[in-house]
């Protein structure tokens, strides 16, 4: 170790805080200038820590499961009544669906319709919250030889969740539809009007840019649009809700506050490029 005189050491100690504050500004500039380097550092750290998070996740999941169980037991009676009523309704729908399916099959036979191939998907577990204070994102733990790519679409068991923006060796980050930087082209299923769903960091994204004359109505179903080639058409997204202030919002089908396993779909779409080409979808590997 280098021996320094006491005054010199004191001077160095007094200087270290201002120097480091200057270095913090330097890091800020670096983060702005070289987004790719920062992204690599982040994913390397996430890769290293995702096994630890996967282990920590177990007791957390157990506690959450227990809480959910207790809640379910508490609401058993009302839940049962609701389910009975819903079951009645769904029986009627099932009859309608069977009739429509038969009719559909008949019409397809007559038209020699070429069906879309069923998209391939893989599942991954949510291990960490990768959003921080001002963003909404989750980190997925994936095996060492995963085939997760940027631009893949993530759905939970109910509907659209977000898309993969960063990929590491053992982990991947999914930007949620509620994040402030999320812009999803959608279609209102009733009127076939196109719109953009804009994240606000709140629980309900806002709808913008619908065509004049076809305002979204409360309760309209919202599905994804194939506009711009970023998403396949028809993925279930949510329902339109008009807020008290008159704002048009989307209540998502997906339960973003309790994500545990996500399905990642590879639709092989090239998509639009985000402002920095960091989250550019990679081309699908040839098979």
């Amino acid at each position: 170790m280098i021996r320094l005189s006491i005054p010199l050491r004191q001077a160095l100690a007094r200087l270290s805080l201002p120097v480091l504050i200057a270095a913090a500004f330097g890091i800020m500039l670096l983060g702005k200038a070289d987004a790719l380097l920062v992204e690599r550092a982040r994913m390397a750290l996430a890769d290293a820590l995702s096994p630890i998070w996967a282990v920590v996740q177990e007791p957390v999941q157990a506690v959450r499961g227990g809480l959910r169980e207790a809640e379910a037991l508490w609401n058993l009676r009302t839940e049962n009544a609701r389910l009975r009523e819903e079951n009645e309704r769904l029986h009627r729908w099932q009859a309608a669906a069977l009739a429509l399916e038969a009719e559909n099959a008949l019409l397809r036979r007559q038209l020699s319709w070429v069906p879309d191939p069923a998209p391939a998907f893989r599942t991954a577990r949510v291990v960490a919250d990768a959003g921080g204070t001002y963003a909404r994102a989750v980190l997925l733990g994936a095996g060492p030889n995963h085939a997760v790519r940027k631009g893949q679409v993530a759905l939970d068991e109910r509907g659209f969740v977000g898309r993969v923006t960063e990929v590491g060796n053992r982990s991947a980050r999914v930007l949620l539809a509620t994040d402030m930087n999320s812009r999803i082209p959608v279609v209102l299923e009733g009127s076939r009007a196109r719109a953009i769903m804009v994240g606000t960091n709140g629980s309900r994204p806002r709808l913008q840019h619908w065509p004049e004359g076809t305002p979204p109505r409360d309760g309209d179903r919202v599905v994804s649009s194939a506009e711009a080639g970023a998403f396949p058409a028809g993925l279930p997204v949510g329902t339109v809700r008009i807020s008290e202030g008159g704002g048009v919002e989307v209540e998502l089908f997906a339960q973003l506050d309790r994500l545990d396993v996500l399905r990642l779909f590879d639709f092989g779409l090239s998509g639009i490029l985000p402002p920095e080409a960091v989250a550019r979808p990679e081309p699908r590997a040839r098979r």
């Binding site: 890091i27 990768a130 204070t133 709140g202």
Partner: protein, 179 residues
């Protein structure tokens, strides 16, 4: 400090390890806390809120273990873990550390409640600072709710964290004086 009648034992490997563990505990403890806080439990902004109380506490009560480079490293870890704009957490924590150092001679003589109230003010300013900085770096204003939530979480977490850390700090001081 050696007491009368007990000769100071020589600096053996075990004692050296003991001292090293004591010196490293604050930084390592915060790092582990941050890593554990990322596990999703449904409270966004938890990581940034949990970093503030221990950094403030150790800067006031044990500044030797919480030097500026250590704070810098913890801030960097926070920024990388939360995917926040790089540098925001670093700068916020460094400024909190600087303020705590300025106030420490007065703060160490105060009771728990006064320290907590001072921390609440510091946390509010730090959250507002992080909010403005994030807005400047991303070039659009984020909503104010997460910043308020972060300040509230930090202020609410301080009593529990501060009490635990205070116990640990007293145990460490006793061990140092008894050795």
């Amino acid at each position: 400090m050696a007491r009368k009648g007990r000769p100071q034992p020589p600096m053996g490997t075990l004692r050296r390890l003991d001292a090293a563990a004591r010196a490293a505990f604050p930084a390592l403890g915060i790092a582990l806390l941050l890593i554990a806080a990322v596990v999703p439990v449904g409270a966004p902004g938890l990581v940034a809120a949990l970093a503030l109380p221990p950094v403030f506490f150790w800067s006031v009560f044990r500044p030797a273990a919480m030097s500026p480079p250590v704070v810098f490293g913890l801030g960097l870890l926070q920024d990388l873990l939360t995917f926040a704009p790089l540098g925001v957490g670093v700068l916020t924590l460094l400024l909190v550390h600087g303020v705590a150092l300025r106030m420490r001679l007065w703060l160490v003589r105060q009771g728990f409640t006064v320290v907590w109230l001072c921390f609440c003010a510091v946390a509010a300013v730090a959250s507002a600072f992080g909010f403005v900085l994030t807005g400047l770096l991303d070039w659009h204003m984020p909503s104010r709710v997460p910043a308020l939530l972060q300040a509230g979480l930090a202020a609410g977490a301080y009593p529990a964290l501060g009490w635990t850390l205070g116990r640990i700090h007293m145990a460490m001081t006793r061990a140092e004086e008894g050795a």
